[in-house]
């Protein structure tokens, strides 16, 4: 990190871009340099106060990269709460940003599956660009929410699910699609003594089945990349591979691809503006002290 502490070098030759992905469950920030290299990546749970949290995660990410906000040339906000990022230069949809971020990590990607806290998406990607997508944000089944609700019923933590499911000897078939009905079904199975790993494996199978049914509309081609919080669950990764009959790649940080893509979009927009001799920012930058330093961030 030494080089970034040298202000003369930074001011002369280095520029930085930030992407912030305000998701339904987690807020993510990625800061990249002029080469697109990630300098800092952070996330925190999205609470009810989007704006304050956006500020806080951004401040922490800057601190970690040893930068100040003025060092950042461009900020792109994405995700479901992107409108609540007062300091962003631009808002771009999460689909575009995800495609960008995933393609930067897996240049051969053709199909991306993103399962987040309250939605699931399938993306068809060609040459770094999103060409088609399918999405479910209407029903909790087939989203991370399904697991969130049921993990409570099972008395487990969400992080444990993947490991536990690996111990399953068979998968409990879950006949209900609806999360609420699946919950009742599972309560009945628990009382009948069905082993926990079998139930968890059944849940993973149900979610994979539902998502694969949805994304089949896109004509799935390899390489398939799986992102979003649920991609951290090895059980769902395995279940997806089984249902797809294809290998599924998962980035080291599957939650950060949206924010990474947003930062890279910022870089692209900036370089384009410079090449065309246009001003980088369409509007005055909004990061004023009131949005940042006056929160109780210390």
């Amino acid at each position: 990190m030494g080089i970034f502490r040298d202000h003369s070098i930074r001011e002369d030759s280095l520029i930085y871009f930030a992407g912030i992905d305000l998701g339904s469950t987690m807020t993510k920030v990625v800061i990249v340099d002029g080469d697109g290299k990630t300098l800092s990546a952070l996330m925190g749970p999205t609470g009810p106060e989007h704006r304050r949290l956006a500020n806080k995660v951004m401040a922490d990410a800057l601190l970690r990269a040893d930068l100040t906000f003025d060092d950042v040339s461009y900020v792109v906000a994405t995700g479901y709460g992107r409108i609540n990022v007062p300091f962003a230069d631009r808002q771009i949809t999460e689909l575009t940003c995800h495609a960008k971020g995933i393609a930067s990590l897996f240049p051969g990607v053709r199909t991306a599956i993103d399962i987040g806290g309250q939605d699931a998406k399938g993306l068809k990607i060609r040459n770094d660009k999103l060409v088609d997508f399918v999405m479910n944000d209407r029903c909790a089944a087939g989203t991370g929410r399904f697991l969130d609700v049921l993990v409570g019923t099972l008395g487990l933590r969400i992080e444990e699910l993947g490991e536990i499911s690996l111990k399953a000897t068979q998968k409990l078939p879950i006949s209900s699609v609806c999360t609420v009905f699946a919950q009742m079904e599972i309560m009945a199975c628990l009382s009948q003594g069905t082993p926990l790993p079998d139930i968890v494996a059944g849940l993973h199978d149900a979610i994979a089945n539902r998502v694969v049914k949805m994304i089949k509309k896109l004509k799935i081609e390899p390489e398939v990349v799986f992102t979003g919080g649920v991609a951290k669950n090895i059980g769902v990764v395995n279940a997806l591979q089984e249902h797809l009959g294809l290998k599924v790649s998962v980035p080291a940080e599957p939650l950060l691809t949206g924010a990474l893509g947003a930062a890279l979009m910022g870089k692209e927009l900036t370089l384009k503006a410079i090449a065309e001799g246009k001003p980088i920012h369409e509007k005055e930058r909004r990061l004023v002290e009131s949005t940042f330093f006056h929160t109780e961030n210390h």
Partner: protein, 272 residues
């Protein structure tokens, strides 16, 4: 003077009735819990005690509902569609369309002039169309389910739910509460959401008057009014709507059903 017991072992509550000459003489309701077999046993013992009878006095027992398979002592089982139809006609012979709102299912049943089921649709894939949704929201609002109906009548600005999912609806209700929406407005919004689901089921099965509402949902005055408003007419409502299927089950035996007769569904039903 044969005495018949009808048991409706539902996913939420289990209902029992004892019927003599087509008239219920005892009613009993228990929460089902997770052990259908145990609740059926307890229901039988308690209703017999309430009526001052012994098991030997009962000529026949017919079970229906989700847990009917678990009623070890029952003579026969009958589908809840048929029991519901039979139960409602015993109260309102003129009824041709029945809206049965239960905890997990909502079903709309069409019957003909001779009381036969000719069509039905069930909403069983999604909790938004059933009493479940109301259960979940009542829990969020920390009210008793039986207060949901009367409370909702005080609403002047029902919340419009943007989601068709009960789980997302729960989050939406929590957000609305934090934004200052009243309990009355949220409950009225839930009733409207349910009413619009119910009305699509009615459209699919094809409406013929008269129309009645039964099941536990019919106890909710707010839901009944929302459905009436959506459909544009008054609904007939039996006095003990949650016992209708149990009464219907008992009627099945009264009408000469024996072990040899089939009690399976007739009609061209669709399960949604």
């Amino acid at each position: 003077m044969a005495l018949i017991m009808g048991l409706d072992i539902g996913s939420g509550t289990s209902k029992g009735v004892i019927v003599r000459d087509g008239k219920p003489i005892a009613y009993h309701l228990l929460p089902s819990g997770v052990d259908y077999r145990a609740v059926a046993q307890r229901l039988r013992e308690e209703i017999l005690a309430m009526a001052g009878l012994s098991a030997a006095d009962i000529a026949d027992t017919i079970a229906t509902g989700q847990g009917a398979d678990n009623v070890a002592f029952s003579g026969h089982q009958a589908s809840d569609i048929l029991c519901c139809a039979r139960g409602v006609i015993s109260v309102f012979p003129s009824v041709r369309t029945i809206i049965d709102v239960q905890r997990t299912f909502t079903q709309v049943i069409r019957i003909n002039a001779t009381g036969h089921v000719i069509n039905f649709v069930i909403n069983e894939k999604c909790a938004t169309g059933s009493g479940c949704f109301l259960d979940i929201i009542s829990h969020v609002l920390q009210i008793d389910l039986k207060d949901a109906g009367p409370l909702s009548l005080g609403s002047d600005n029902p919340v419009v739910f943007t989601t068709g999912c009960a789980v997302f609806g729960e989050s939406e209700a929590i957000s609305r509460v934090s934004e200052g929406a009243s309990r009355e407005d949220i409950l009225a919004g839930v009733h409207q959401a349910l009413a619009s689901k119910i009305s699509t089921l009615v459209d699919r099965v094809g409406l013929e008057m008269d129309c009645a509402m039964s099941g536990g949902g019919a106890l909710n005055v707010g839901l009944v009014q929302s459905v009436e408003k959506k459909l544009g007419f008054k609904l007939l409502a039996p006095e003990q709507p949650q016992f209708i299927n149990a009464i219907g089950a008992a009627m099945m035996a009264e009408n000469g059903v024996t072990a040899g007769n089939s009690l399976s569904n007739s009609g061209s039903g669709k399960i949604n």
